[in-house]
């Protein structure tokens, strides 16, 4: 098998996880106009909860399910307890411009600190339901394990579920309306506050799943998902930060790109990749790779 092909296959599961994170960030951005930097902390805490469930019950499926549920509940709670008062107090001047950034960064510090208090700072190995060794097809080994297959499948399922909810249900219609124009949606009877809370909890659930899926390959520590946040944000921007499909495709593109960088340039260069990609996209094509050109400012 050619090196290029196996590198791209390797990027597929990475890309699927970045897509999940990107979709989580986009959900929050569309409903609240806030980039949620605490997403990494929410995901880490949800993953630790899953780990704890796995230790107690030994069931991987229960663990992953409860991680997702906990992520969703936590996301909703954060909206109610922090975002709602923050939006109500929105002032003006430089303080107002940085307020959401500072608030979510503060929350990130709290969530990571609490995770560290409860589970310590050392790297923990998170179990996976499937083997992480490469599958073999026709006698040759490929760098794609059964777990990678599960990762891609689970991400795809979440994306399909989200797009079904958004396109086919009343709730999805309210969410799209609230994102498009909060005032008009409110006039039309959409309870925008509740819709926003639901958006935050969907995002938290997707982040929880992303955390559970990435830890078998990266290990778990309170700040182990910081990079996932940075790459998820990059993927979201590549996709234009507005469209869920764009975010998903952006995640995949970033996964392929990073796998190529890893293979042909070395791991030291991966950290710079996100910055270079972000700059290139924002300066050359600020509407995202698939977005429509409009007067939007970045």
């Amino acid at each position: 098998m050619s090196t290029l092909l196996s590198t791209l296959i390797m990027g597929l599961s990475l890309g699927a996880i970045y897509s999940l994170m990107a979709v989580a960030l986009i959900l929050v951005w569309r409903s609240t106009r806030v980039v949620n930097f605490a997403q990494a902390g929410q995901a880490v805490l949800s993953t630790y909860i899953g780990l704890e469930i796995h230790r107690m019950t030994g069931s991987y499926w229960l663990a992953i399910l409860l991680s997702i549920i906990f992520g969703g509940v936590l996301g909703g709670l954060i909206d109610l307890a922090l975002v709602r008062p923050l939006l109500r107090r929105a002032g003006s001047g430089p303080e107002a411009a940085v307020a959401p950034v500072i608030a979510t960064l503060g929350l990130l510090a709290v969530l990571q600190g609490v995770s560290g208090m409860l589970w310590g700072g050392e790297l923990i190995n998170f179990p996976s339901a499937f083997s992480t060794a490469g599958l073999s097809i026709g006698g040759s080994k490929i760098p794609f394990s059964a777990f990678d297959l599960f990762t891609v499948g689970a991400s795809l399922a979440v994306m399909l579920a989200f797009s079904f909810i958004f396109q086919r249900t009343g709730l999805g219609l309210s969410m799209r309306a609230a994102a498009f124009s909060p005032e008009v949606a409110q006039l039309a009877g959409v309870r925008t506050g509740r819709v926003r809370t639901i958006g935050w909890s969907f995002a938290g659930a997707a982040g929880g799943l992303a955390g559970v899926l990435i830890t078998p390959t990266t290990f778990l520590a309170p700040n182990s998902l910081d990079l996932l946040l940075v790459f998820g944000f990059t993927a979201a921007v590549v996709g234009g930060l507005e469209s869920m499909i764009g975010g998903a495709l952006g995640g995949l593109a970033l996964g392929f790109g990073l796998a190529l960088v890893l293979q042909y340039a070395g791991s030291s260069y991966t950290f710079m990749t996100a910055f270079v990609v972000l700059l290139a996209v924002l300066l050359l094509r600020p509407q995202g790779l698939i977005g429509k050109r409009s007067g939007r400012r970045v």
């Binding site: 930097f37 922090l82 303080e95 940085v98 600190g113 609490v114 560290g116 589970w119 940075v230 990059t234």
Partner: protein
Amino acid sequence: MVDVSKRPLHFLSRIPRPVRVLIGIAIAAFAWVLMGDRVSEFRITQGSMVAAYALAIISIVMLTGYSGQVSLGHGSFLAVGAYACALFLVNLHWPIWLTFFISVIAAAIVGAIVGIAAARLSGPYLAGTTLAFAVGVPSISGLVNILGGEQGISWDAAEQYGPPSRYGDPYMFLNKWVYWICGAALILGIALAVNITKSRYGRIWRAVRADESAAALAGINVARSKILAFAVSAGFAGFAGAILSVTLSSVAPSTFGLSLSFLILTGAVIGGIRSIYGAIVGALALVILPMLSDMIASNASESIHTNLPGVITGVLLVLTVLFNPGGTAAAFNHLAHGLRSKGRRSSH
């Protein structure tokens, strides 16, 4: 107009401004030296850290408070300044004040380059991009041999910039000597920052921050003002990085990770994002908070002990944003204003 003669200390305004500035600098220098004589060897290094943090926070205040741009990656500009300082100290044995100059220039150049991109971004885009910058820059140390990889570069402070040997054993006196260097740098930095923000450029930055279209209509080149703000701010951050490396007598990529960028931002928010003098309060908070949490958690387990400072600063950040967005400086101004108006009322 406020009647100036009603203000407390109004008689000071009769003294010519240059004299006032010199008196202020003299008092600050005296206070810095006096504080250094009152504390132990360990505490004195913390004083040097306060100077480094304060300079870094000033760079955030100029960028965010005056120019209205957000940066989550200022730790990287500290890294540029610190590594520039280290390279010129260790390899070329330049005098320390000259290496400070190099640090400021190097960081300002990098800042100008990032600023060109930043001028076209705003809000979350700028925050996210600078976040990626903060993640990327420390990894460069692994790519370039001269930067010393994960270990970084360390040196003998007494040999490079220790006190003159005629005052006795340079090692006995080293920490206090470094503390004095840091104090001089801090006072110089504050004087410069106050001057810049009160100058034409400070006014331009505030005009752009308040309303870009109005500023452009008034003939201001918006993009150029933003790039200049980024370069000046990065220069201050580079100065802070040089001070930090001089204090630690080493540089390593782990010092300049994401957490340093977040720490500086925390200090700026706690001190007050618009206040140069608030930066000192923020820097003090950054040094005192870990000590405080040390005291609280002295009997707690290892994991609580190491994570308590992060939780405390996180909670403090959220509470500040929700209840006191202007930080300590705004709270202080509010208090002073309240006292003043009360005094005026009672005099009638």
